[in-house]
């Protein structure tokens, strides 16, 4: 290769790197950082399947809310209302939501049961979904999108799974269609330790969510109390009947 050609190649690389770094520093990078795409082409570069997967970090949600608020000229109340509805949809208080967009121009994807095709790796352990959009179970050509939810807390200990996690990995099985067969898996990684959920869960929306949670908790406790009260009443009645019978027998 001539010196001139090498120079052109090196300059091209430097240009691309500088663009890459400047793009990374832009505002939209907050949104794009948590939104990853894997596009798998077939051998003749015609057919493809594209997976875009979004991890709803606190940073991402915050940026999304701000973007929507700016685009729609919302008041503070409207913004808080949107944030509240979003958080409720995401089920963040108990699940880790991941949004999947699939654009398939290759042979149909057949993913039923979808819950068996995806997993989330946290701290070297793998977790299966607790819920997902059932449309992923149907044969898929073209576009489809939906949520998949993983547990946020350990089932046995109740501890948050993400507490000491640095990088988590979401995997889709390669066996879902011919174009992906032969691959180990289709992976998406996020450095979740760069997120700060505590900073986000403040404000009116967070208070409303907490209020919702407390009201549900209150309802559950009241129900438990009513059950216990009912048992107590039954025991009292039984005691009264026995005492009455004892009195009756002793009086003979």
């Amino acid at each position: 290769m001539s010196i001139k050609r090498k120079l052109v190649f090196a300059v091209s690389l430097l240009c691309l790197m500088s663009v890459a770094l400047s793009a990374y520093a832009s505002t939209d990078s907050v949104l794009s950082r948590w939104r990853k795409t894997v596009k798998i082409m077939d051998e003749d570069n015609m057919g493809f399947v594209e997976f875009t997967v979004t991890y709803y970090s606190a940073e991402y949600i915050q940026a999304l809310v701000q973007k929507e608020a700016k685009a729609n000229l919302w008041t503070k109340d409207e913004e808080e209302n949107y944030k509240y509805q979003l958080l409720k949809t995401l089920q963040l208080e108990r699940n880790i939501p991941i949004f999947i967009e699939i654009n398939n121009y290759s042979p149909a994807l057949r993913m039923a049961p979808f819950g068996d095709q995806v997993e989330l790796w946290i701290n070297g352990k793998t977790y299966s979904p607790v819920d997902y959009d059932k449309r992923f179970n149907f044969k898929l050509t073209g576009k489809r999108e939906g949520f998949v939810y993983f547990p946020r807390y350990d089932e046995e200990t109740g501890q948050p799974l993400l507490t000491k996690a640095k990088t988590i990995k979401f995997s889709i099985d390669g066996g879902i269609g011919p174009i992906t067969m032969g691959r180990s898996s289709i992976d998406f990684l996020w450095d979740v330790h760069r997120d700060n959920p505590d900073q986000f869960f403040t404000g009116k929306a967070a208070e409303r969510l907490e209020l919702d949670r407390l009201i549900i908790r209150l309802g559950n406790l009241k129900e438990q109390r009513d059950d216990i009260q009912k048992q107590l009443d039954e025991l009292d009645a039984e005691l009264a009947r026995i005492q009455s019978r004892i009195d009756e027998l002793q009086s003979k």
């Binding site: 793009a23 042979p107 066996g175 032969g182 992976d187």
Partner: protein
């Protein structure tokens, strides 16, 4: 029209459960209308209802809400046990189409989904896929260099590829996969073969084992090539493949055997050396993601020939990916070979490397970019030669830029761009130049320009122009001049 089609779909769904004749309750549906019985059957099953004035108004367009309502009622009355496969498929399509409206009506899609899953399991649990590629090719020169573009003449209409995939989940941990197909465009009536057959099963300690004839492609796993330009992977291998994941990292091991049959005519292994080419195949790979930005892998492969001494060959390589952001990545790989006998020419331990910038269209909005620079030592020997033993393919359209040039060091600059304008249209451009250090050998170049039309996600048309130029002042015995081809490819997938 939409109303008519949807109505017919629902008719098909419930026809098996409805009485053969039913009185039509709507005053405005004439008895001699072709849909009279169907409307009557649907009304009898409670799936459709008319307007309060007793009319059906069959010529009015239907809204999505009305269609969702009809689908919901069909779901309520349908007896899945008696449904056929076609009924279920149609019902699934309707449910997907009207999912949001059904949700609004309080119909739970997951309930119908579980019933469908049970039914599919009863049908046999098989999944099928297929694809067909058909080419119309027009070459610039007839029979230049022994049909460089793999044509029988200067024009050809031919099957390029036909494949049928099938898969069955045998039990919770085991799956069977097979592929029947042909891809030999140079034969008029190419034979159909089992191109894949394997089982995947989970062993203790969460080790996944694949046994049979499966696709081997570690370069694909690392994202190191596009088109069909893998050097040591992307072909069928018979044997055993073990994978163990540790979350951010995984290790893989495999052992296989290549049976050459007669003169490589099986068409599966694509080996350049056809005589006495039975060999054991060993591989080991360790891949680790340090974080979302950086990935690193070590790979080793060995061929140990059954009958030929002093011909064993090994390759070891390290590759990495650095993601500047989700849309821009820098990748690289460094290869070292150990050849017992340099049976082609040159070094017995040649090396090669490649550096790649992989930019998705989202980064610059108007185009994706694949920019690759590769350098090969003298005698570097790749194992996946797609085109007549070419050193390194780069031959997506048939002509090999690097053919019979690998005597000294070679460097390659390859750029591939693609613009996805919308859901229907895309364009692409490829440029490749190869610089051979051999004295008296010109640089070779390859240009491609193409337009893609996605008629539907399942049917694609590709019109491409490809030109290869080997230069004019090249030594005797090597290719000179240029040639080109226009190719219209029809690709159908299901």
């Amino acid at each position: 029209m939409k109303k008519l089609c949807a109505l017919l779909a629902v008719v098909a769904l419930v026809a098996f459960a409805a009485p053969a004749f039913a009185a039509n309750p709507f005053m405005d549906v004439p008895m001699n209308h072709w849909a009279y019985d169907a409307v009557g059957q649907l009304a009898a099953r409670g799936i459709i209802s008319g307007y309060p004035d007793g009319t059906f108004k069959g010529n009015q367009p239907i809204t999505r809400y009305e269609m969702a309502s009809v689908t919901a009622r069909a779901l309520a009355v349908i007896d899945m046990e008696k449904a056929s496969k076609q009924d279920v498929e149609m019902l699934k399509r309707l449910v997907v189409e009207f999912k949001d409206e059904l949700d609004a009506l309080g119909v739970k899609v997951d309930k119908i989904d579980s019933r469908v899953a049970v039914l599919e399991e009863n049908i046999g649990g098989w999944k099928f896929w297929g694809e067909l590629r058909f080419d119309a090719k027009f070459e610039g020169e007839k029979n230049l260099y022994n049909d460089e573009y793999t044509l029988e003449g200067d024009k050809e209409f031919n099957l390029n590829r036909f494949r049928i995939w099938m898969s069955k989940q045998i039990d919770e941990n085991t799956k069977f996969v097979a592929r029947l197909g042909t891809s030999d465009s140079t034969t008029k009536y190419a034979p159909t073969r089992w191109e894949r057959y394997y089982v995947e099963t989970k062993l203790p300690y969460d080790i996944k084992m694949t046994a049979g004839l499966w696709l081997f492609d570690w370069e694909g796993d690392s994202g190191l090539y596009i088109d069909e330009d893998a050097m040591f992977g992307d072909y069928g291998m018979k044997g055993f493949w073990f994978q163990k994941s540790f979350g951010l990292g995984d290790v893989q091991a495999m052992i296989g055997h290549n049976d050459s049959y007669s003169n490589g005519a099986d068409g599966i292994f694509n080996t350049a050396d056809d005589v006495n080419s039975d060999y054991m195949f060993y591989g080991l790979r360790a891949n680790f993601n340090f974080n979302e930005q950086f990935r690193f892998a070590l790979n080793g492969l060995m061929r140990a020939y059954d009958d030929l001494n002093n011909r064993d060959e090994s390759v070891y390589w390290a590759d990495f990916t650095f993601n500047f952001n989700p849309n821009i990545a820098f990748k690289g790989a460094y290869f070292m070979e150990d050849l017992d006998t340099a049976y082609r020419a040159g070094e017995d331990s040649p090396k090669a490397y490649k550096a790649i910038f992989d930019v998705k269209q989202d980064a610059f909005k108007f185009t994706s970019i694949w920019l690759e620079y590769a350098k090969f030592d003298e005698g570097f020997n790749v194992w996946n030669a797609n085109n007549n033993g070419d050193m390194y393919a780069y031959d997506a359209y048939g002509a090999s830029v690097l053919i019979n040039r690998n005597w000294d060091e070679t460097s390659v600059l390859f750029a591939s761009l693609k613009q996805q304008w919308n859901d229907k249209w895309a364009t692409y451009e490829r440029y490749l130049t190869a610089d051979f250090d051999t004295t008296g050998v010109d640089d070779a170049t390859n240009w491609t320009f193409g337009v893609l039309y996605y008629y539907t996600p399942a049917i694609t048309f590709d019109l491409a122009y490809d030109k290869v130029d080997w230069g004019d002042s090249t030594a005797a015995g090597m290719r000179t001049g240029d040639d080109n081809i226009v190719r219209l490819r029809t690709h159908v997938k299901f």
